[in-house]
Structures are given as C-alpha cells and as structure tokens.
C-alpha cells in the first residue's frame, strides 16, 4: 500500500549506537548490520562485511517514524509541496513512511486520481508514501465515493480530512461500507455550525483578542457522535488531530466500552496552547486550533497512557504569500515533518513530561498500527526502517533549512534539541546529515 522510487537497498553497519525499540523491549548499546535492506544481525563487535560503516557512538538508533497525516498538496498545489519535496522533508524528519490526505485539487475520490499519485510516488517518493482517499465524492459530504474500487486501487484508508462528514446518516453508511473494504475511516471531527468563522480556541484569549471562537465542544460533539455510530455499527475508526480534553474523555470512555477507536495528536497541540496566538503569528493558526493548558495536559495524559496512540504532524504546507497576511486572513495549517521529533524532544522529553521511549513508540509503531501497517521494528529479519538520533545536538529552525517547499513552521527561529542524523526507509538510505 506504500510506494517509493526504487533505490539500491543498503548494506550498512551502524556501530555503537544505543539501540532503542521500546515496543520490542530493546534498549542496549550494540551494532546493527543491514544486508540488502534487511536487518541481518544485532550484537557487539559485528563484522562489517565491507559494508558502509556509520559510527554512532553516543547516538540513539530507533525504529524510524511513521506520519499518518501529511498534506502533500499534489495534485493541484505543487507550488506548496510535491511528493518529492514532501517525502524528502519526511526523510529529514526521520520518517520511513507517510500517509497523505486526499483533500487535493482534484480530491482523491477516484481510482484514476489515486493511480496517478501511486505512479508519481513510484517515480519520486524519497520514503514510502501511502494515500488516503476521500469518504465522499469531492469531499462534499453528499454521496459516498467508490470506496471499494479505491481500496482495490491502493487506498490506505478513507478521510474527508479538512472537513467533517456533516450528515450522521451518511457517516453511518460510510462506516457500514468501509467494513467491506478492510480500510479504516479517519475522521476530522468538527461541528461546523459551532465552529464556523472561528479563528482560534474559544476562551479567555479569543475573548481578549476579539477572534470568533472555535469552541472545544465543536470538536467533542462530533467525536461523540462518530464514536456512538462506530459503537452502534461495531466498526473501527481513527480520530484525526484531537485537540480538546472533552474529546479525549469521550475517546477513553468509548475504548473502555470496547469501541475499536484509535486517535492521533499533533506536535503543536502537545507543545503549545492558545496563549501562543497572542503573537498573532499566522504560523500558529491551525484547525483544530491550539487549545487551553487543561486541554494540552489531557492530550499529554492520553498520549502517555496510550488512549491516543499516534503522533501525526498534520504537515500542511502553505505558500509564503498565503501566510504573509493578517492572522485573520491566513489559512489554517503548519508544517511539521522536519521538526516533529526535535520539537517534541525539546518541549516534552527534556522537561520530563514524556519518556523518550513513549515518544518513539507514538511516532512509529503507534501510527502504523492505527492503519494496520507493519510497525517498524529493530529485529533480525525485519526490513530496515531506522532513524539515528543525536539527542545532544541543538539546531536553529530556519526557513532556509527546510526541504519542504513551504516554511510555515510555528518553530521558526527557535533552537531545538535533538537532530536526525540518518534515516533508512524500507532498507534504502533516505537521509544522511
């Protein structure tokens, strides 16, 4: 279901790193030998077999990351991102796989559009990319897209991301029909009659700044509706970019009641609150919006305890001129592929809010599981999906440093700790610093 351009499968020995695969219970300093893109041996003092050797003492070698929520902007807005630039950004961020959302121009709602993306990925993707197709035709929320044909053509899942499926009746039909495709629905939960024209979280900051509010209940009401429908139909679902404590509570209750629901959270919702909007920087404008400190704490708790199993960047590139406008006129969305690990390491791991092991699991195995993909593993016989991390390195986020075609990052100018030194994706060298 994932596609990348064909490259030579790597022969490499990574020597002396702290090998950390939390899901496999691995945490020790050793060498890892990769033969023809497959992990061949783990241990100390490994024979290099004339492989390329990466000296990695003092670094951490972990399963590479999986981003379940990326906007590659192709087709339609190749000025903002392409499959080549977006996957190069992913490789630089330590990702070995990404999933792209279908809200492109045109929308990925037919096997023809999906097929052209698959072909493009095979020609230009630096790391394997998968594509979600839309739930409804043109994401208009009126009629189901041909989910069966889309699944056969390689859709990894279905989503109208960017907008909700407003009709409860249609949502129910989508859940019913998705079951025969074996693919999951990934839902953008927003009750638009409550959020319409909202620019930021509704609370003390929006009241003071004068922005129309996008209240938490606009998200949680739709989360509750969709979880109720999933429970009724006995179908799984995935909740995109949760932002509100009330949504987390609804998710936790549904999971406890046996609903097969997974969820993701973004780095910006884990690191920032609506206080950041006081800067009026268009690069802190996103949908769903940054919420209160209590919401952030609830998201972090849910990430720790596994209620939210995946971190997703919701990488949303925007052209420079679209963001160089007053906050109110700016589009929603920020980039994230190249900064996710360092942002989370700096804002959560270093201050002691999240164990490194949990962060690595939620960036890798968690998102893979949400879509039924094989989680990256560091074990003999597994395809090499590896990221080499330098936890001592600091770097400054600058516009010129991005491989993405867009630079609408909320981290511009910030100095972060934690750098990606090497990414191996499906046995191929994707990035080396």
């Amino acid at each position: 279901m994932l596609h990348a351009k064909s490259k030579r499968r790597e022969n490499v020995v990574v020597r002396g790193a702290r090998v950390l695969d939390p899901a496999a219970g691995v945490d020790e300093v050793m060498d890892v030998r990769v033969d023809c893109g497959v992990i061949a041996q783990l241990g100390t003092g490994l024979d290099t077999n004339e492989h390329h050797v990466v000296e990695a003492e003092g670094l951490v070698l972990a399963p590479a990351f999986v981003d379940p929520h990326v906007h590659l902007r192709a087709p339609g807005r190749e000025d903002e991102e392409t499959i080549a630039s977006g996957t190069a950004a992913a490789a630089a961020g330590g990702y070995c796989a990404i999933l792209a959302m279908p809200n492109t121009e045109p929308v990925v709602d037919s096997a023809a559009v999906l097929g052209s993306l698959v072909d493009a990925a095979r020609a230009e993707a630096e790391v394997p990319a998968g594509f979600l197709a839309s739930i409804t035709k043109a994401q208009e929320g009126e009629e189901l897209a041909e989910l069966g044909e889309l699944a056969d053509a390689g859709a990894v899942g279905f989503s109208d991301d960017g907008r909700p499926v407003t009709s409860a009746g249609l949502m129910r039909r989508a859940l019913q029909y998705a079951s025969v495709t074996g693919r999951r629905l990934a839902l953008h939960c927003e009750e638009q009659t409550l959020s319409r024209s909202g620019q930021m979280h509704e609370g003390a900051v929006s009241a003071e700044l004068g922005f129309a509010g996008y209240p938490s209940v606009a998200e949680s009401l739709m989360v509750e509706r969709d979880l109720a429908l999933a429970a009724y139909e006995g179908q799984p679902l995935h909740l995109l970019h949760l932002s509100a404590a009330e949504s987390v509570a609804a998710l936790r209750a549904a999971r406890d009641a046996g609903v097969e629901a997974t969820a993701e959270v973004t780095p910006h919702h884990l690191c920032l609150t609506d206080e950041a909007v006081r800067s009026l920087d268009p690069n802190v404008k996103m949908n769903p919006p940054l919420r209160s400190a209590a919401d952030r704490a609830a998201l972090l708790d849910a990430l720790r305890d596994g209620t939210i199993g995946a971190i997703a960047t919701d990488h949303a590139p925007h052209a420079r001129e679209e963001k160089e406008v007053p906050f109110e006129a700016a589009p929603f969305g920020v980039t994230g592929l190249e900064t996710a690990f360092a942002a989370l390491y700096t804002h959560l791991v270093e201050p002691g809010l999240l164990p490194l092991e949990t962060l690595l699991e939620r960036l890798s195995a968690g998102p893979a599981r949400a879509y039924g993909l094989e989680p990256p593993r560091i074990r003999v016989g597994a395809a090499a999906n590896l990221v080499l991390l330098d936890l001592g390195a600091t770097w400054r986020v600058e516009e010129s440093g991005f491989r993405s075609r867009s630079a609408n990052s909320w981290l511009l100018g910030e100095t972060l700790t934690g750098a990606v030194r090497l990414t191996v994706a499906d046995g191929r060298l994707a990035y080396a610093a």
């Binding site: 620019q199 509704e202 609370g203 003390a204 900051v205 929006s206 009241a207 003071e208 700044l209 004068g210 922005f211 509010g213 209240p215 009026l280 268009p282 001129e321 160089e324 406008v325 007053p326 906050f327 109110e328 006129a329």
Partner: protein, 331 residues
Amino acid sequence: MTELRVMRETLPPPPEERRHLISVRDLGRDDVERLLATAASFERSLEREVKKLPTLRGRTVVNVFYESSTRTSSSFELAAKRLSADTMSIKAAGSAVDKGESLKDTALTLSAYDPDVIVIRHPQIGAPHLVARVTQARIVNAGDGKHQHPTQALLDLYTMQRATGRLEGLHVAIVGDVLHSRVARSLIQALELVGARTTLVGPPALLPRGMEAMGCELRTDVEAVADADVVYVLRMQRERMQAGANYVPSLREYTARWGITPERVRPGQLVMHPGPMNRGVEIDGRVADAAESLILEQVRSGLVVRMAVLYDLLTTGPAPVPAAAAMEEVA
C-alpha cells in the same frame, strides 16, 4: 511661553523605547498617565489663536484606512497637521488595494517614503502587526478588526477624567455588543490599567465567554448599569445582526431589553458612545442629547489625544529637533 515651559517641566520623562501603539497592552499605567497629561497640555495650546505647533516638523505621518471612518481618520490627520508633520491619507478604495495588492506590498510601498508613523485601520485582526514586521515605521493601530482601538480607549479615559476628575475607582458599565467591539476590548484593558471598575452588560451571545478573565463583571440585565458612574453605550452593528446570526432575535427586541433610554439612566450619570450612533436602537436620542452626554466631548478629546500619541511616539527615539525646544522656538 510660560505655558510651554510648564509643559516641559511637568511632563514625566518619556520611556526609553516605544515604537508602536498597537494594543493597550503596549502601555503601562505611567504611559497612560503621561499620554493624558500630554493631551491636556496640547488642549491648552489649542486655546491659542494660532493652533499649529512646529513639534513634528519634517516628520511624515501616513494614514492608511482600509475601513470607512470619519472621526478617527479626520482626527489623526488633523492631529498630525497641528503638529506640523507632513501627512497623507490613503483609503483602500481607489488605491492599489482595489487592484489586489496585498497589505504587505502596500506597506512596503509606503515605507519606501520613510514614514515616521503609519496609522492603520484594517478589518482584520493582526494587520498592524504585519505592517510593523515589514516596515521600519512606528505603527499606530486605528482599529484592527474586533481586536483593538487603543487611541479610542485613551480618548475615552481622557474624557472621563475631565468630566469626573478621576479614573481610579471609577465604575464604568459598557453596554451592548461587546463581542464585535474593538472599542470595548481596548477600553476594558485601559480601565483596568488605571484602577477603574468595569461591568459589561448585554445579551449573553454578545458577551464573549472568557471575557471575565479581563477583570470585569458580566451581566445580562440592563439594571446593572444603575450602579455605574459612566454608562458607555456600544454601537449595535447592524451588519452583524444579519438573518441567521441569532445573537438576539431582532434589533427591536434588543432595544426593548438593552437600549439606553432616559428611564434607564439616573440623573447625573454620564453617558458615552464611541460613534457612530444608531439613535433609537442602542441609545435613545434624548439620552444622546442630554447634558450628561459626553459624546461630543469624546470627539474633541480625540484630536488632542491623537496629537499626544504621535508626539509621544516620535519624541522618544532619536529626535533631530528636541520637541520642547521646538515649541519654545515658536513661542
């Protein structure tokens, strides 16, 4: 001559660096007090036959208005002229903005003339911040969307102080559409800064959730205005009351429940309104025209307060001509 000496000697020293007036949050209490004192001395100077002061001679003040405005744009223009600055006013209609030019490009174009101050009004929150980022000028926010209108708040404080002799402990009831009002947001912050007390009164949907965090009390019953020293009436923005918005069922019902009528103000209670008024909607004409109405005072205060703001912004940096000396030169 004497007058001008007094002014120089009694004014507190200006702050080290203050480049913009974008939000009341840019100000401390001493800034407000200094600005009000400066405005008072300008008011005295305007009593003279020749009203023009050479203080800002050689300085350039550009007014850019992306929204219609009568009192704010005219008072900024006149304020700059009274201080001998070169000034020009640009309105969005009929300019390159009509041809699709972005705010950034308009700002860059204007900044090519090296303006000392850009006064901007724009319908979108954050517009002055963008202009501040891309130009070297000092920015004065003359209203950005529903966010801020700091010179209105200053002129309102000035008017209240003149009418009551105090600001500390003053109780002001702000009545009406707080949700859409940049005037209310700026004024609430300014009143808090000077130790006054604020009560917001209006229909629930027009009192934003979270506003109590700004240090004011929220009330939905119009009787709450009775305790206030000043009743500050906000404009009911008809364009916000379009069908389907349902903030209130109708303007008629708004007027019946929250309109400020002679029966709802006590004798001696002062009434203010930022204008333009909808007589018969949020304010009864009899209240607007009564002796207790400060509405025209507010307009008059606008001129001297905006003079004070321009003077203050331009005499804190490296001024080629010391302002006070320049004034003596005229005297």
